[in-house]
Structure formats: structure tokens, C-alpha cells
């Protein structure tokens, strides 16, 4: 298609914490500097910068992308901020990818930062404005409502129980115990802990949902001729896809994320993947809630509809299973600083495919992985396929 090959050649991240002393700029700088150091580049080598971050209202800063831009090395460079809700963390490297694939730039910094703790008393105050201001907001909605209702519809459609879903939370929080940046890693958590946690919005309980988090992640993307020169093992971006469904969310069947399927098929087609269940070795689907990992695995065509819970119970999605899912620990374990959380998943694929993930390393020399994020009014899917 006349596009250049693009690789990830460096990655960096901060710890994910409930409330960081560092400002958003400082967090961005730390992650960006680490990513540059990783591949022995300096800011002078960088041709352009893309920055992903959630709504301005989180920080109470208008033009937040510009506010953060010095932290991500954006000054006096072609710089853009992108934002597609929760899907941002996987869309931002796609945004960076087309900067390089187009032939316009050789090296692109991709930075995602989120500082959710600034928004008081709770960042939901900002989130809430996603509901329709005339037909829905007068009801006094709480953001948990829509996820609880989607989860309930998913459970009802396939006859699932809470225990079938809570296993995801157990797996991811245990996986995160091996992640040096994790907020909620817990090697000893049990199914009972999740099932006995307080009910927030039934069927969602405290340990079914990921927490408010601060953090930043950065990647360095390079065009093929540069990547082969500066990296011993470039991780190639083989396919990208994104898709948006209707904002009339009450008019949709909530049991299946068709927009994720559309995004996945776009990415798989580009990557030449015809049998994702055989050709994908690691999956990092978006897991802000435990049921979302299952929902997304089905949308990504990795399991039949309604069958991801069974696969989870059988251990197929464990780190040493046939299809490791969220070996990082995911949002449920590492934390959920919105945009940074999605990019953390892409960084995890980078480390896993380079076999540098340490205690989290998936066995068997994985060659290809998929990362996915999701957001807005449960309507956007962003997908990236990477391989070595």
C-alpha cells in the first residue's frame, strides 16, 4: 500500500500510583526520558511527538495537550495531541504509526499521561458529562451504571455467574504482582476476595473495577531503515485498526462489542492474520472491569461469543496458558491512568516480544501480540498488532 514499515524501538513508564507527587509534565518527562534512554536516542533525534491524554476537565487545564507538551519533548517540533476516550492509549501509537508509515517522519515519540487524582472529589465528576445532557443527565447518572448494565446484559445473554467473571480479576491482580510499576498487584488474592468485596453497582463490586490512577508511558517509533540500525530486535507494528459505534448506546445490543470486532478485523487484515487464534501469541485486551477482558477477547475473535469465561476457568488465559491474556496484570492489576493504561499494554507487548519481561515473561518465545483499548460511551475500539 505504499506504507513504510514502522517498529517500536524503545519504551518507558513511571510507576502507576493512586496519587503521584509529580505533575503531569513531570510524569511525562520521566516516561519519555526512559524510552529515549532505552534506545540510546536524544530529543534531537526525534522528528515529531504525539501525546495522548484524557479530557481537559480531569486536570482543569484548557489545551492540556499543549500544557503537557514540554514533558513529552514536544517544543519546537511537529506536535499533536490525540484523544479518543479510553481508547486513547492504543490509538496514540496508531497516530504515531501513520506519522512514520506515511514517510513524513523517521522517528516519532509516543507519550501517554494521565493524572486523574487532581479532579476532586472524584474524576467521575468529569466523566459524567459523557451522558446526553438532555435525555440522560437529568436522571443523575453515575458512570458505573452503564458498565454495570453492560455487564448484566453480557451475563444474562450467556448465562454467566459472577464467579465466571471474577476469575479475570484474580488472574490479572496476581499477574500484576510481578510488575514493578503496579498499584494493585496481589499474588495472594482469591476468588472469594473478589466475590466478597463491597457491591458498588450490582453486578459490579469493588474488585471487579480498576482504580483511579496517575502515571505515564512512552514509546519510541522508528521507520524501518532507522529501526534496523538502532535496535537489535525491533518490534514491528504489523496492523492497526480503529472503529466507532453509535452514541445511542441504549439502541445497541450490549452483549457484544461489534466495534472491537471491526477494529480487530481491520488490524488483522493489514497484518495478514487469517487465524487469530493460532497466529496471536499474547493478548492485552482492555480490562478496566473484569467482564471487559472477556467481552473484548470475544470481539477480538480470540474466543467464540460467550466462551471467554470458560477459557479463563480452564486456565487458557493464564501467563503460561495457550493464550496468555494480560500478562502485564492489566488495568485491574497495574492500574488505570486512562491513556497511559492503554499504552502500558502496548509497552508490555514490546517487552514480552523482546523477551525482556522478567518475572512476567510469557514462555515459548512469543512472536506476535495484540493490544486493544476501548472507551467513550462503550463505543470505540482501538487495536494494534505487533510482532518480531
Amino acid at each position: 500500500m505504499g506504507m513504510r514499515k514502522v517498529a517500536v524501538v524503545g519504551a518507558g513508564m513511571t510507576k502507576f500510583v493512586r496519587r503521584a507527587q509529580e505533575t503531569g509534565k513531570e510524569l511525562s518527562y520521566e516516561a519519555t526520558k526512559m524510552a529515549l534512554d532505552y534506545c540510546d536516542l536524544t530529543l534531537n533525534d526525534v522528528d515529531c511527538v504525539v501525546h495522548g491524554t484524557a479530557p481537559d476537565t480531569f486536570d482543569g487545564v484548557h489545551m492540556k495537550g499543549e500544557y503537557l507538551s514540554d514533558g513529552s519533548g514536544g517544543w519546537r517540533k511537529p506536535y499533536t495531541r490525540c484523544y479518543v476516550g479510553g481508547g486513547t492509549g492504543v490509538f496514540t501509537p496508531i497516530h504515531g504509526w501513520y506519522h512514520v508509515a506515511s514517510g513524513m517522519f523517521d522517528i516519532c515519540l509516543v507519550v501517554c499521561e494521565e493524572k486523574m487524582s487532581s479532579c476532586q472529589p472524584h474524576p467521575q465528576g468529569a466523566f459524567l458529562t459523557i451522558f446526553d445532557h438532555t435525555t440522560e443527565r437529568p436522571l443523575g447518572p453515575n458512570l458505573l451504571w452503564i458498565f454495570a448494565m453492560e455487564m448484566n446484559r453480557y451475563m444474562h445473554t450467556y448465562g454467566l455467574k459472577k464467579e465466571d467473571i471474577a476469575l479475570v480479576s484474580v488472574k490479572n491482580k496476581r499477574n500484576a504482582a510481578n510488575h514493578p510499576c503496579s498499584l494493585l498487584g496481589d499474588a495472594d488474592i482469591t476468588l472469594e476476595d473478589v466475590l466478597n468485596s463491597e457491591v458498588l453497582a450490582w453486578p459490579v463490586q469493588r474488585l471487579d473495577v480498576s482504580p483511579v490512577t496517575d502515571g505515564a508511558v512512552a514509546l519510541v517509533l522508528a521507520a524501518e531503515h532507522v529501526a534496523r540500525r538502532i535496535s537489535d530486535k525491533p518490534v514491528w507494528i504489523e496492523g492497526v485498526g480503529w472503529n466507532l459505534d453509535t452514541a445511542y448506546w441504549t439502541n445497541r445490543d450490549l452483549c457484544y462489542p461489534r466495534y472491537v470486532e471491526n477494529a480487530a478485523r481491520m488490524a488483522y487484515d493489514m497484518a495478514g492474520i487469517t487465524e487469530p487464534r493460532k497466529q496471536i501469541h499474547i493478548a492485552e485486551p482492555y480490562d478496566p472491569f473484569d467482564y471487559k477482558e472477556l467481552h473484548h477477547l470475544e470481539g477480538l475473535q480470540l474466543f467464540d461469543r460467550g466462551k471467554a469465561p470458560e477459557a479463563t476457568a480452564l486456565g487458557i488465559t493464564q501467563r503460561d496458558g495457550d493464550l496468555p491474556v494480560c500478562p502485564s496484570g492489566g488495568l485491574l492489576g497495574v492500574g488505570n491512568p486512562i491513556a497511559a493504561a492503554g499504552l502500558m499494554k502496548v509497552a508490555e507487548l514490546f517487552w514480552q516480544l523482546r523477551e525482556e519481561a522478567g518475572a512476567r515473561q510469557v514462555p515459548g518465545q512469543p512472536k506476535r501480540g495484540v493490544a486493544q483499548a476501548w472507551g467513550d460511551l462503550m463505543q470505540v475500539g482501538t487495536v494494534i498488532v505487533m510482532g518480531v
Binding site: 519504551a11 513508564m13 513511571t14 510507576k15 502507576f16 500510583v17 493512586r18 496519587r19 503521584a20 507527587q21 509529580e22 510524569l27 520521566e30 516516561a31 526512559m34 532505552y38 482543569g60 472524584h122 467521575q124 465528576g125 459524567l128 445532557h133 438532555t134 435525555t135 440522560e136 437529568p138 436522571l139 443523575g140 447518572p141 453515575n142 458512570l143 458505573l144 451504571w145 454495570a148 448494565m149 448484566n152 446484559r153 444474562h156 510488575h179 514493578p180 510499576c181 463491597e198 457491591v199 458498588l200 453497582a201 450490582w202 453486578p203 459490579v204 496517575d214 453509535t246 445511542y248 441504549t250 439502541n251 450490549l254 517487552w351 523482546r354 525482556e356 519481561a357 522478567g358 512476567r360
Partner: protein, 172 residues
């Protein structure tokens, strides 16, 4: 993670750091107020609610009848053809029993939000509203419900002109 990196940046602040004055921060309250125009389609929807009626729209292109109304079909990308008065009854598509407010204050009695598929829509599609007059433990997906309206003199052209939906007693 990488094995090459020994120390990751990021300083975790705790409640005690604020209580004991170890960190400096400042605060700001925004003064942002909005007045939203209801628009053509939702304007009519609200006017009908004031009269105690639910109204949807029909597209002859895709033959859908949907609610809330819109003045163009987002799939066929052409104007909607007909306004359709719908009954105020429906079926619970999904629901939640919510025990917390948006800022995580706990509630003793749950708020029951639901998507209610409205009768007469095709394919069945819903709106979000609340369920009331029902034992939370008795709520089920598939339950038949009917709108409970405010008295006519109190209705003002708002989604809140319906107080909530409650189970239909003479059904099932």
C-alpha cells in the same frame, strides 16, 4: 521490564502526607454553566413528554422505529420519515442496582437504573431510565414495565416527566 531497568520513577503520595502538611497543593473551583438547546428532534420528544406521551421516529430506508427520536437516520444518512407515538410500556433489557453516588458516597437503598426497550420500536431499542416501586431483589431482565408519569400540571418537558418505570402487575 524490563530486566534492564532497576528503578521506576513516581512518588506515591498518601493521605497522611496531606494531613500532616508534607506536600503543597492548591485548589480551584470552576465557574462553568451551560444552557443546552434541545434541538429539533429532542425538542419534539420533550414536548410530547410534557403531554404524557413517548414518541419515536421511523425511517423508511432501514425500516427502523427508534427512540430517542432523531431528525436524520444515522445509518441511511437521510431525513427520518415519520413521527411515531409509542406506548409507555416496555421490557427491561438490562439494569443495575447502584449503591454508590458518583462521588462514592454509599446509599442504603440502591438506585435502579435500567435500559428499557420500548414497545413498538423495531428492532426493539431502549432508553435509559429508572425503575421504582419494586423490590430490588425482584428486578429481572425481561421484566415488563410501564412508565409512572408526574401529574400533568407538574410536567415541564423533561425526561423527568416520567418519574420511573414500574413492573406491570397484570402481565405475566
Amino acid at each position: 521490564m524490563t530486566q534492564k531497568i532497576e528503578k521506576f520513577p513516581g512518588v506515591y503520595l498518601r493521605e497522611s502526607d496531606f494531613r500532616e502538611g508534607r506536600v503543597i497543593f492548591n485548589e480551584w473551583k470552576p465557574n462553568a454553566q451551560y444552557a443546552w438547546d434541545a434541538g429539533v428532534a429532542i425538542g419534539r420528544y420533550l414536548a410530547e413528554l410534557k403531554e404524557g406521551r413517548l414518541i419515536g421516529v421511523h425511517c423508511r430506508g432501514c425500516r427502523r422505529t427508534v427512540i430517542p427520536p432523531r431528525n436524520f437516520c444515522e445509518w441511511c444518512f437521510r431525513p427520518m420519515d415519520d413521527w411515531v407515538t409509542l406506548p409507555d410500556t416496555g421490557t427491561v433489557n438490562t439494569f443495575s442496582l447502584c449503591y454508590v453516588t458518583w462521588d462514592m458516597q454509599y446509599l442504603d437503598v440502591p438506585e435502579i437504573s435500567a435500559v428499557i426497550d420500548i414497545d413498538g420500536t423495531m428492532p426493539p431499542v431502549g432508553i435509559m431510565h429508572m425503575l421504582g416501586d419494586v423490590d430490588p431483589d425482584a428486578v429481572r431482565i425481561g421484566m415488563r414495565v410501564q412508565a409512572v408519569w408526574k401529574p400533568a400540571e407538574e410536567r415541564e418537558g423533561s425526561i423527568l416527566d416520567i418519574k420511573y418505570f414500574r413492573p406491570m402487575t397484570n402481565d405475566k
